[in-house]
């Protein structure tokens, strides 16, 4: 398999050097992503502070059961991703492919549940706009909650879709023999990205689903 062996780029001294650089690069990128999501979260927090009662009321209309299921799904997918990275480090490529597939599957499951939630929200008239309806709260502020909800979870879902595609690409590279214990940085870097997308959800879930939720609702 010499012709498809992983290449050491000329600017690096060793595979380890190349790996460290890739990992540092992904960390820097995630720093930028933190600011990006941070800005959206800041907007949400500001509006929530201004309209606490209405946001609490609106938050009760999110689908807590589906949201909790999704949280578990995503956390489990992160577990499989970590196992995938470990398998790559040990050169166990068949296992690596298996774990990648499991991660992708769980990620897709998350998206399916998310779109189910969106469908329910459309049916219940929770999409901001002329067809919005919700009792018991100022409609404008409740709509603002849902604007934040759809924007934040939508952007998160977009990142997840990109993550699944990325993992698919990693799988193809593995099949092409380009992933070895010395040169598996693509898997490691993909893992970092996946964990980040998971962590963003860990912030979004309490902010959107849990804060202000009255016991017995959902």
């Amino acid at each position: 398999m010499r012709s498809s062996a992983p290449a050491l780029a000329e600017q690096f001294d060793s595979f380890e050097h190349q790996r460290e650089s890739s990992v540092l690069g992904m960390w820097v990128f995630l720093g930028a992503e933190m600011i990006f999501f941070g800005g959206a979260i800041l907007g949400f927090v500001e509006f929530r502070h201004a309209y606490v009662a209405d946001f609490n009321a609106a938050s009760n209309h999110t689908k807590i059961v589906l949201g909790t299921v999704n949280t578990a799904v995503l956390l489990t997918s992160s577990l499989f991703m970590a196992l995938a990275v470990h398998a790559a480090q040990e050169g166990k490529n068949r296992r690596l492919l298996g774990f990648l597939a499991a991660t992708m599957l769980l990620g897709t499951a998350f998206l399916a549940v998310k779109f189910a939630e969106y469908y329910l929200e459309v049916v219940e008239g929770l999409v901001p706009g002329p067809r919005f309806r919700m009792d018991g709260a100022d409609s404008r502020h409740a709509q603002l909650f849902f604007v934040c909800y759809f924007t934040m979870t939508g952007v998160h879902a977009l990142h997840l879709i990109i993550g699944i595609a990325l993992l698919g690409f990693l799988g193809l590279r593995t099949l092409g023999g380009k992933v070895t214990p010395q040169n598996h940085n693509v898997v490691e870097v993909g893992g970092l990205y996946w964990h980040f997308v998971d962590i963003v959800w860990i912030f979004l879930f309490p902010l959107l689903y849990l804060l202000g939720r009255h016991a017995g609702h959902g």
Partner: protein, 538 residues
Amino acid sequence: MTALTADRVPENYINADYRFRSWLFSTDHKRIAILYLISLTFYFFVGGFFALLMRLELVTPQGDLVQPETYNKLFTMHGIMMLFFFLVPSIPAVFGNFLLPLMLGAKDVAFPKLNLASWYIFNLGGLLTLVSIVLGGVDTGWTFYPPYSSLSSTSYVLLAAGGIFVMGFSSILTGLNFIVTTHKLRAPGLTWRRLPLFVWSLYATSIIQVLATPAVTIGLGLIGIERIWKVGFFNPAMGGDPILFQHLFWFYSHPAVYVMILPGMGVESELLTTHARRRPYGYAFIAGSSLAIAVLGFLVWGHHMFVSGQSVYASMVFSFLSFFVAIPSGVKVFSWLGTLYKGAIAFTTPMLYGLGFIGLFTIGGLTGLFLATLAVDVHVHDTYFVVAHFHYIMVGGMVMAYLGAMHHWWPKMTGRLYPEGWGRLSALIVFVGFNLTFFPQYVMGYLGMTRRYHAYAPEFQVYHVLSSAGASILGVGYLLPLFYLIWSLKYGPKAGGDPWGGTTLEWKTPSPPPTHNFEEPPVVTEDPYSFPSLEEGR
């Protein structure tokens, strides 16, 4: 191997492959730098053309050259082109890309393919913005304030905002590349304390690019969402808050101005040290001040919002911090003066631009203090005083640094010397034209001449006429290098590896450098500015 025979030119990054596609698909950082140079020159002259039309309109107090809507599009597009598609990338994308690996003794940047991708993403953003211009333009101001931009404007806001949104990714990726390159690809012996000051400035710039750009990405993204789906982030009638946008926008755009000036300051250190044959005065302070500016620059964005309706206590904090971000800049100016002290100053074109930079940046920076002063800013905010302040820094500072860098590294990048007489003449024309254009704007700004007006009260006319006259001179000063630099590519004398006697690593390569920069990584054993010292008493 660079086999040199009597009738063969050695292999370098230019002649390695002459095919068009070898340039468009190159991952060589030096070729990517040239690709950026071509794109940026184009965007610069587009933005400059809009400025020319604006200054023509402003010669008379009445709005008689163009329609008000057209004028509003002109100043918007001038700002967008110049800021996002020229100033932000300028020195890092051209000179950073070309020189960073060379100065570090590396063969390329950490992620060469990402580097090429950055150029394509950059131009995709530029294309979207150009399309918005061709279709009729955008008229929100480069600041895109809602509710005007989200609800009221009928111009091509989405396209233009989209172009900037896309360009932001290019900025983040380039910054990411430079950070990893600086950390990971230094040659043996090249410690942090031995880095050229230009590298320090690029490093500080890259940190800001990575951490600040996402704020404008989300800000413009929300404007887009609001325009398309009519939701209410920034619309008070729907419970939203237009000031939220201002916070998101300026959280990026204030650090962005440091993205624009820090590389220019880095270039300045290189120009003065090389052309005065002096070690920099206070290397650690100059390097440290770049980092201080990067950090403090994140804390002062509210000084753009003193009269916006934000809390007076917040304004106080922002004002206080804004004064402190001026201090490291002052350190740099004094350090540059100290670098000229007892030097051996040659009045080459790069040195002339370098000297002009010191003077004009000082004036621009000091007038920033007027704006940081709360009660004074109430009067001069949104007037030509602000316009003059930022043009002194961006044009008097940054563009002069860019031109200085262009002339300083032209021999290295092209292997040719430019005609020195024309270089000096252009530098002088730029200096004179610049001051005539922008100094009157300080005066009329304090008198109350508001920004973004295409028709104005007659008592301001004399200042506008002076300003427009200066602008035409400045334009000549910018056009001349376009001609003589291109001319030098064919007719300029061949340059050697080190025409200026520089000491940083790029001067140890041939001009132009070979594709792989160094055969073996150089081993660094001394500081970068080890000029020999003249005996004392001279």
